[in-house]
């Protein structure tokens, strides 16, 4: 202990620029109402892998993603995307929010939502042309929703809504995909369709990070995991980080503690 303290060096924040993984999170702390939802989390996500962020309800998994993306303001810490700031790498980052975070009663059709993914290409007044139409169609086909393109989004099932959200992200054609609980409350067919798309993205060399809570499918779906409960508990390849000890620390008899859901606290 004493010996290790001697080795401590404080590096300047500028050095962060040398880290150029798709997403590097440093010292991230987020508090809602002076109660930390995420405390001092460091994480480096490896390119070309599917990483699951695992932990019990209220463990701050979604909050970590939202803080990295600047949707909530962290108390301390920062995130770098591809070695630079988020604002310089927005074209390479796609985000799939929790399905329940929006009002599906909004007057829009499936195609309208997927076309939102093309905003950074189109800009304010860019004409929506044939090629854009094709991109929307291709994204819908990848998630198996091509027959629903004219459907009002409020009339879709939960699984279909989730696929529409994924299609919107696919239309962004990003290198890093951040998904918040993509498998929550969806049917088995949708779950299979989504994981198929995620694995295809990986084989194209893209990086996928998904918040996930179903422990039984972790080994099947993910290459890497980040196990957390407010603090990071372990991270790395599933084989080494997804251990009974890590889960014990994360869940350890505290499953009922999930009442303090940060998503709800935010709303």
């Amino acid at each position: 202990m004493q010996a290790r303290l001697e080795d401590v060096t404080m590096r300047d924040a500028r050095e962060l620029a040398t880290q150029d993984g798709p997403l590097v999170i440093r010292g991230m702390t987020v508090a809602y109402d002076r109660k930390p939802a995420v405390f001092s989390v460091d994480a480096t996500f490896r390119p070309g892998r599917i990483t699951g962020i695992i932990g019990p309800n209220g463990a701050g998994k979604s909050t970590l993603l939202r803080a990295a993306l600047g949707i909530v303001k962290p108390l301390a810490g920062q995130a770098t995307f591809f070695g630079t700031t988020l604002s310089r790498s927005r074209d390479r980052v796609a985000y799939v929010p929790q399905r329940a975070s929006v009002d599906w009663d909004f007057p829009a059709r499936v195609v309208d939502v997927v076309a939102q993914g093309l905003y950074r290409r189109l800009g304010l007044l860019g004409r929506f042309g044939r090629d854009h139409d094709d991109m929307v169609k291709a994204a819908l086909e990848r998630v198996g929703m091509e027959d629903f393109s004219a459907r009002q989004i409020g009339q879709l099932s939960g699984g279909q809504q989730q696929r529409v959200f994924l299609a919107r992200a696919l239309a962004q054609d990003a290198m890093l995909y951040l998904l918040d609980e993509p498998f929550a409350g969806v049917d088995a067919a949708t779950e299979r369709a989504i994981i198929k798309v995620l694995k295809a993205l990986r084989s194209e060399g893209r990086t996928v990070i998904a918040v996930h809570h179903d422990l039984s499918t972790v080994e099947e779906y993910f290459d890497d995991v980040l196990v957390m409960n407010v603090r990071k508990i372990s991270d790395g390849p599933v084989g080494t980080a997804f251990t009974p000890e890590a889960l014990d620390t994360a869940y350890g008899g505290r499953l009922e503690q999930g009442t303090r859901d940060p998503q709800k606290a935010l709303a």
């Binding site: 202990m1 004493q2 290790r4 303290l5 080795d7 401590v8 060096t9 404080m10 590096r11 300047d12 924040a13 050095e15 962060l16 440093r26 010292g27 702390t29 508090a31 002076r34 109660k35 930390p36 405390f39 001092s40 460091d42 108390l75 301390a76 810490g77 920062q78 009663d105 407010v230 014990d248 620390t249 350890g252 008899g253 505290r254 503690q257």
Partner: protein
């Protein structure tokens, strides 16, 4: 003049008006608390605006049947009827269509108000040979109020306060925890209806004093002000009633002390002053204390994170953390920990480890939930519990 007004020395009528206003203020503050805690404060705005067509219709009906159209009880009865229909319209629109309650409130209040304005212009053209003076219901007017009217308002205010007292238990239960209330046998819809009935009562009673546009302020501002000071429902109710009563007393007195000072806006502004002071200085929820507490918490978190990083030999990236460590003398200019810093880091690290053990210990689970990244475990657990934790952690080799 103002002192005379405040001490009820301005004659019998003015005194009675002030008393009526105070009772109204108390009734509104108390009733509004339940409405506010139920998160439906602005439903009262729809109810208030929906009184206008009722006043107009009542005037027309009274005049057509040969009575004095300005008969206050008649006008108030009419206003209550359309206000109730406005309330039902809001509930119907928000439950039967896809419109949300806020859109329903806005639509109902503006449509009813518009209809009321149409009726007022109809009345202006009716040849009754006298000024109807119904415009005074828009912003209230206590000038030249009839003695009988003042008595009516005072009695009405008293009645609402009595009814609130009667229904205080189920209403607190419903506004505090509707889910629990319904499982414990309280009829949610009935209590909600009672609550809305009381709001309607306050509105109708307040029409003449404050006017229908601003009555909603009496129902909202005192409860919000009270809420800034306390978390206890029963205290919020009492404080809110007190704030409402005092604001009404000061406002009505100020208004009586000089001409051209309308009662309604003055009561609202006095009420708002109390709110503004509370918003600035209230403990916990006030701006000042929020700011101080946030800064203190942020500093604490940064220091803790920095010390933990020092203890584990991890690099620190956050400039603010580094600045704070240096300012406290925990780190030297070159970023190396000082002697003090090393000790503090080791302590923070031990504390963090103890929390970790506490979390994994079923019987300490409740205490472990108090973790906020800042609280020392010594503040939460007894010495015996900590000794037990240290025993589980093994010998304190590196610590100290």
């Amino acid at each position: 003049m103002l002192r005379d007004a405040l001490t009820f020395q301005l004659g019998y009528n003015a005194t009675l008006v002030t008393v009526a206003a105070v009772l109204l203020g108390i009734a509104a503050g108390v009733t509004g608390t339940f409405l506010f805690l139920r998160k439906r404060a602005l439903v009262s705005d729809a109810i208030a605006h929906a009184t206008l067509p009722g006043i107009g219709l009542a005037f027309i009906a009274l005049t057509l049947s040969g009575l004095d159209g300005r008969h206050l009880p008649g006008l108030l009865a009419g206003s209550a009827i359309t206000a109730m229909s406005g309330l039902f319209a809001v509930q119907w629109l928000s439950s039967r269509t896809r419109l949300s309650e806020d859109a329903a409130i806005g639509a109902v209040l503006s449509a009813y108000f518009s209809l009321g304005i149409v009726l007022l212009t109809v009345i202006q053209t009716m040849s009754t040979g006298q000024q109807a003076g119904l415009e005074s219901f828009l912003l209230g007017s206590t000038a030249g109020m009839l003695l009988s009217d003042a008595i009516l308002i005072a009695l009405g205010g008293l009645l609402v306060v009595a009814l609130v007292f009667l229904f205080r238990r189920p209403m607190s239960l419903v506004s505090f925890d509707p889910g629990f209330a319904s499982t414990s046998g309280v009829r949610l819809d009935r209590i909600d209806l009672t609550m809305m009935g009381l709001v309607l009562g306050v509105t109708v009673v307040g029409l003449k004093v404050v006017g229908l546009i601003l009555i909603v302020a009496l129902l909202i501002i005192p409860p919000v002000t009270a809420r800034l000071w306390t978390n206890r429902v029963e205290l919020v109710v009492v404080l809110s009633g007190a704030f409402g009563g005092i604001a009404a007393w000061l406002g009505a007195s100020l208004s009586a002390s000089a001409p051209d000072l309308p009662t309604g806006p003055l009561i609202v502004l006095v009420s708002f002053c109390a709110f503004a002071v509370s918003m600035a200085f209230a403990p916990r929820r006030g701006l000042l204390s929020s700011f101080v507490r946030h800064r203190r918490f942020q500093t604490g978190v940064h220091l803790r994170q920095g010390l933990l990083a020092l203890a584990q030999g991890q690099p620190i990236y956050e400039p603010l953390t580094i600045r704070l460590l240096k300012a406290r003398g925990f780190a030297r200019a070159d970023g190396m920990p000082t002697r003090e810093g090393t000790i503090r880091a080791a302590r923070a690290f031990r504390d963090e480890k103890r929390w970790e053990v506490a979390r994994a210990t079923p019987e300490l689970e409740l205490a472990a939930a108090l973790y906020d990244g800042l609280t020392q475990i010594e503040d939460v657990l007894t010495t015996d519990q900590i000794a037990e934790i240290d025993r589980r952690m093994g010998p304190p080799e590196a610590v100290q």
